[in-house]
């Protein structure tokens, strides 16, 4: 029997006939992007080293957003520690020189609006040059306002942006790996906390547990904030952990702004057998920038140039 395959990666179609945006040399110099050396992915990194990477990601989020003049600050900053730990702490296998390597672990950003942190993470890992971060949300950029697979950006496994969908896609990937291809690849997916009010999250959870997808690790960015206010005011989510437990997940609750706790959580998740894991990571929206921290009004706003300067001095 044969396998019917069609070349699908990278798509990189973009806006046909239009060229990609490129940042000016001045801008690149301003941010010192020209001589950036990517960080490595290794279990040997100390917590301090991972925190340094997280702060580097945060600085890049600020730069992305201030140049884009629109986009989401709060969630990305709050979850930078999660991304640093996951991508640089040796928990995810990937090859920046061969981004579509068949053996890679995969990450699906279910909360698509949080893409600035994913883009910054990928750039810090060396998937593409940091300069490209400065094209976020610009016409024909590979860094779309919400991830667009049609743009072919290395490291983007799926288009997302409609809340509640990415987790189901991740479940499909985990199912493919564990039950069809029977390999040892792992799949990670991050959702916002407001996002889990979407019913598809619970459908996906039920399916993942039914099929005992222990190669799936989802992370809920529990920052208690969404657009219209505090989550418990907009739509009561608590007790989040109990919900996933009742849906037959292995649940790990941790401080999502603590590299040490996140490392433990990801390490524990890797050992779980017979059920998927949900890491409920308690974070602060806007973490690291004093005037943004824990304030839901920063969900979807970029900093002004002045605010960005302050933020960059705080994020050291």
């Amino acid at each position: 029997m044969a396998r019917l395959t069609h070349k699908t990666y990278p798509l990189a179609t973009g806006f046909h006939g239009s060229s990609r945006p490129t940042p000016s040399p001045e801008l690149m110099a301003k941010y010192g992007y020209a001589d950036f050396k990517p960080f490595s992915n290794s279990a040997d990194h100390s917590d301090a080293a991972l925190l340094e990477i997280a702060q580097s990601i945060r600085r890049d989020i600020i730069r992305e957003l201030v140049e884009a003049k629109s986009g989401h600050s709060g969630g990305p900053l709050g979850s930078a520690d999660i991304f640093a730990t996951l991508y640089f702490g040796g928990f995810m296998r990937y090859d920046v020189n061969n981004p579509w390597w068949e053996g890679r672990d995969r990450f699906v950003l279910s909360a698509g609006h949080m893409c600035p942190v994913l883009y910054a993470t990928l750039a810090n890992a060396g998937f593409f040059p940091k300069s490209e971060l400065l094209t976020l949300r610009k016409f024909n950029s590979r860094l779309q306002g919400h991830p667009g697979r049609d743009m072919g950006l290395p490291g983007i496994e799926s288009s997302t942006g409609s809340l509640g969908q990415g987790l189901g896609i991740a479940v499909g990937m985990a199912l493919a790996d564990k039950l069809v291809d029977k390999n040892d690849r792992r799949v990670f997916s991050l959702t916002g906390d407001g996002e889990i009010s979407e019913g598809e999250i619970w459908e996906a959870a039920m399916i993942a547990a039914h099929w005992e997808l222990d190669n799936l690790c989802m992370i809920v960015d529990r920052n208690n904030c969404q657009i219209d206010g505090r989550t418990e005011d907009v739509m009561k989510l608590n007790p989040v952990g109990d919900k996933f437990k009742a849906f037959n997940f292995h649940v790990i609750e941790c401080n999502g702004n603590s590299i040490a706790e996140l490392r433990h959580a990801f390490a524990e998740a890797r050992e779980v057998k017979g059920r998927p894991t949900c890491i409920v990571a308690e974070t602060y929206m806007g973490r690291g920038v004093s005037f943004m921290e824990d304030d839901y009004r920063w969900h979807g706003k970029p900093p002004t140039p002045e605010q960005a300067e302050v933020a960059l001095t705080e994020l050291v």
Binding site: M1, A2, R3, L4, T5, H6, T8, L11, V108, G148, R149, D150, E157, S158, S159, T160, G161, S162, Q165, L167, G168, I169, A170, V171, G172, M173, A174, L175, A176, D177, L179, V180, D181, G199, E200, E203, A204, M206, I207, H210, W211
Partner: protein, 338 residues
């Protein structure tokens, strides 16, 4: 133009078109869903990366055949149409060719956002099977009678939409859809409908097939309405009216050339579909003609209302979806020729 006048003018073309094409005969009746089920098994035999997802009605939409034959490649999703579409996307992005089938009402409406963003925008190689198309579903009533899928699916960029006309074509179309790259939707029905195509009747995604020649008018139909169109056309032939019948099995990408040719050679068009008269095949044909070759079109379809319980035949008659209705529409269309 009176009917008499129609008859006279149509006489002119009779000789040139008569007898050039094989006449399609009914050889039994079988629901198109069985063709889908069998086609899926053929795909499973050919390719080991074809997988199927169940939506708790596998015995109705005939993914049960695949499930029995390839239990290791079948995965039950419970009743979660939206997320089953997402899981299929994840499988497709992993290099598999997933089929997810359920009733068309839920295969196109419960997961529309997922079709749009995860399937179509991702250009993911997911195949959705929408069963229980049209009011011929019968007794289950309006909620289960899918009459909106053509509009909903064809408006989505990147999607391919196929509506086979009988059992044989459903089987061929399913296989073709499986071997074709891209997000696809295939629509099929619950009730037995006439079988009239053969194993060697041509089928190609994106190509209309001429099932009967004629230049007085053309009926462009899809699904089981193709048979109704043929019956109407054969009956009209006896009245001296030569009607071309096009099987428009692919709604998207649409065979625009065949539509323009039909309009320019016949001058009057009838569209026939077991779907709302709004935004469906009729709409697609009207769009092409408006852009390329304006011509009178009569629409056969459900007239912007919901269905209801009843026997399939009873409903088809009440909703105006029989060969009789096609015949009358052809005459109206011809009368509108200038």
């Amino acid at each position: 133009m009176s009917v008499t006048a129609v008859k006279e003018s149509s006489m002119v073309n009779t000789a040139s078109t008569n007898g050039q094409m094989p006449r399609y005969e009914m050889h039994g009746k079988k629901a198109t869903r069985f063709g889908f089920g069998e086609g899926l098994v053929v795909l499973g035999e050919r390719y080991d990366n074809v997988v199927a997802l169940g939506g708790d009605i596998t015995g109705s939409v005939m993914t049960s055949y695949f499930k029995e034959k390839f239990p290791d490649r079948f995965f039950s999703m419970g009743i979660t149409e939206a997320t089953a579409t997402l899981v299929a996307t994840g499988l497709a992005l992993s290099g598999h060719i997933p089929f997810f089938a359920t009733y068309g009402a839920f295969a196109s409406c419960r997961n529309t956002d997922m079709i749009r963003i995860s399937m179509a925008y991702n250009d993911a190689n997911v195949k959705i099977g929408g069963g229980h198309a049209g009011i011929s579903v019968g007794e289950d009533g309006a909620t289960h009678q899918a009459l909106e899928e053509i509009a909903i699916i064809r408006v989505m960029p990147n999607m391919t939409l196929v509506v086979p006309c009988d059992f044989n074509e459903a089987k061929k179309a399913t296989i073709a859809v499986g071997e074709y790259y891209g997000p696809c939707y295939i629509r099929f029905g619950r009730s037995d409908v006439p079988s009239f195509t053969h194993e060697d009747t041509p089928f190609e995604i994106g190509k209309a097939q001429t099932f009967k020649d004629g230049n007085d008018a053309a009926v462009i139909a899809c699904g089981p309405m193709v048979w109704e169109a043929l019956v109407a056309a054969y009956e009209l032939e006896a009245e001296g009216i030569n009607v071309r019948v096009l099987n428009m099995a692919t709604i998207k990408p649409l065979d625009r050339a065949a539509i323009v040719k039909a309009a320019s050679e016949c001058g009057a068009i009838v569209t026939a579909e077991e779907h709302q008269i709004t935004a469906g095949l009729g709409g697609a044909v009207a769009e092409v003609l408006a852009q390329e070759h304006p011509a009178p079109v009569e629409f056969i379809g459900v007239k912007d209302t919901f269905g209801g319980s009843g026997k399939p035949d009873e409903l088809m008659e009440f909703f105006g979806l029989t060969s009789k209705d096609v015949k009358a529409a052809v005459k109206r269309a011809i009368a509108r020729k200038r």
